[in-house]
């Protein structure tokens, strides 16, 4: 028996729940040298902004215990060149394509999604609401429920693609934000983006990143991500996509147990370019071994301690 790994978000059906996370997979081409990209549930692009961005000064990354910090600064080709230069490659794949969108004002998000509207080869949008809102004095859209609502609502009103809202963990209560974007019309939420962190070179008495702080990712953040996915999945009705430190099949299964319908591999791609496809295979094997017809039968099936 071949287990059913398929998952739906909005009207879009994915062959399996394994995605690759924004910013860790470029625009797909590089890793296409290592395996057949069609094996993946979907590819998520680097965040696309209205204009091309050069990104932050180097050094942009550094390794930390069981993780890494990055301050890439949303370096990307901009929406126009994305459509001209990167989309043709993605369009030719059989796998689903999710375009991640970022901006520093609601107007910028809206302009980008308008330019992406109706373009062949795009299946969904993931809205990165972890960027600072320039107009609101630099607070991130993702840290205030009202801002998050306004941003996703504006995107919803200007796009026909299903929308995933990507949530920041750098907030007091992620569930509140998740409920706000659900209310605004998001078809799914993905969490978590990176946690704000910092590393210091004691000898030089300098921060290790030119930007001073950066985003922490990798196995170090998995427990935080699991807790947030679990809490969020208890409260929202839309699918939850879990990510943060997923390195292998076991990690992926833990996220599904905690309530995730899909998972993303980020830093894991760097450690092993084949990490994501191995998880697709691993999920299949797990279902066969445990006689599960559908992977989704496992979703949220965490056995909670009871007082007896």
């Amino acid at each position: 028996m071949i287990p059913d790994l398929s998952v739906k978000i909005g009207k879009v059906k994915f062959s399996n729940p394994v995605l690759v996370a924004s910013g860790t997979f470029g625009y797909g081409e590089e890793y296409g040298a290592f395996f057949d990209l069609n094996e993946l549930g979907s590819i998520i692009t680097k965040s696309i902004t209205l204009n091309p961005r050069e990104g932050h000064l180097p050094p942009r990354t550094c390794e930390t215990p069981s993780g890494m910090l990055n301050a890439i600064g949303l370096a990307n080709v901009g929406v126009k060149r994305f459509i001209q230069e990167k989309l043709p490659f993605l369009r030719n794949l059989k796998t689903k394509v999710i375009v991640n969108v970022a901006g520093s004002s609601i107007d910028e998000y809206v302009e980008v999604v308008k330019k992406l509207e109706g373009k062949k080869g795009i299946d969904l949008l993931e809205i990165n609401i972890s960027c600072p809102n320039v107009k609101q004095g630099g607070i991130t859209f993702g840290s205030d429920p009202k801002c998050a609502y306004d941003c996703i609502k504006a995107v919803r009103d200007n796009s026909t693609y299903p929308i995933i809202a990507k949530l920041s963990p750098n907030v007091a209560d992620i569930v509140e934000i998740a409920l706000a974007v659900e209310e605004a019309g998001a078809d799914a939420v993905s969490l978590i983006n990176t946690l704000v962190g910092m590393a210091i070179d004691l000898e030089k008495r300098k921060p290790r990143l030119s930007n001073i702080t950066g985003g922490l990712s990798g196995p170090a953040i998995k427990p935080v991500a699991l807790a947030m996915v679990w809490k969020t999945a208890q409260k929202v009705k839309i699918p939850v996509i879990g990510l943060g430190g997923i390195m292998n099949t076991q990690d992926a299964l833990e996220f599904i147990l905690a309530g995730a319908s899909m998972i993303q591999v980020g830093t894991g791609n760097f450690v092993d370019p084949e990490c994501s496809v191995k998880i697709v295979e691993g999920l299949k094997e797990y279902c066969q071994e445990k006689k599960l017809k559908r992977i989704l039968d496992l979703r949220g099936k965490l056995k909670i301690f009871t007082a007896d």
Partner: protein
């Protein structure tokens, strides 16, 4: 799909001096495709400590034996673990990655500048040129280290018959001072031809910054091989960039070899 992860088999581990090691690894795919300047990205173990891969220049290749060599210095936990590996162990490899040096034509000269471990890719360049029957007398190598006992492979280099200029920072052997100073003096005294000569350099960033300034000043056709922290090593994350006159470039994919006149090092 032209690139594959490969489990290399460690054929030998040699300690060449204080914290200096040479590994010979059996890897058909790397040894078949490697070119001077390419690097490989490897995992030193299966744990999350360290988490990320480490980049090393491909140092020597023996195509018939399906093997290649790495030359490295222990500078932190990753290289420490690598130095403790035993013959027969497997190593998880990606490669060959990055671009490669563009080679001189038969009637051109080649001048190479190596600082410390920068000798790793440059010695590979020398041996490939000699393999292509390039006249050893048309190759000059400027090799600088801090002190005499950091010299690597000097016997191997001497036996190739190329011209060798040595410098140590403490003056314990050869010229006393930086290799770039010796190089600059030779250029200024016109003892080095700059026409129909290709220059190549690899070493610490400070040295390459100097080389880049000298290259601009003397309009040298000079290629430098850079290092950078590389999370992915394949061009996907934008984490390893270097500033150039054409904007930020990825050291792992657009490099590691760049035109010395184009990079902006600080």
């Amino acid at each position: 799909m032209n690139q594959r992860k490969e489990q290399g088999l460690l054929l030998s581990v040699e300690n060449l001096g204080e914290r200096l090691f040479r590994l010979k690894i059996h890897s058909p795919s790397i040894s078949k495709k490697a070119l001077p300047g390419n690097f490989c990205h490897l995992r030193v173990n299966e744990s999350y400590s360290p988490l990320l891969r480490r980049a090393f220049s491909i140092h020597q290749v023996e195509t018939e034996k399906n093997s290649f060599e790495l030359l490295f210095k222990v500078v932190g936990p990753g290289t420490q673990i690598l130095s403790e590996k035993k013959t027969g162990e497997k190593i998880d490899l990606l490669g060959p990655l990055g671009n490669s040096f563009s080679l001189p034509a038969k009637d051109e000269n080649a001048v190479l500048l190596a600082g410390g471990m920068g000798i790793a890719p440059l010695f590979y360049l020398v041996s490939s040129l000699l393999e292509k029957k390039f006249d050893p007398q048309k190759i000059s190598l400027f090799f600088g280290v801090r002190k005499k006992d950091e010299y690597l492979l000097v016997n191997d280099i001497v036996s190739t018959g190329i011209r060798l200029h040595l410098a140590t920072e403490d003056g314990s052997s050869g010229y006393r001072g930086m290799i770039t100073e010796l190089f600059f003096q030779e250029l200024r005294a016109r003892r080095l031809k700059t026409k129909r000569t290709r220059f190549y350099a690899c070493g610490p960033n400070l040295m390459l910054k100097k080389v880049s300034e000298i290259s601009r000043k003397f309009k040298l056709d000079c290629q430098i091989s850079l290092e950078s922290h590389m999370p992915c090593g394949v061009g996907a994350c934008m984490g390893c960039v270097v500033n150039t006159v054409k904007g930020y470039k990825r050291v792992c994919k657009d490099g590691p070899v760049f035109d010395a006149r184009e990079v902006i090092l600080d």
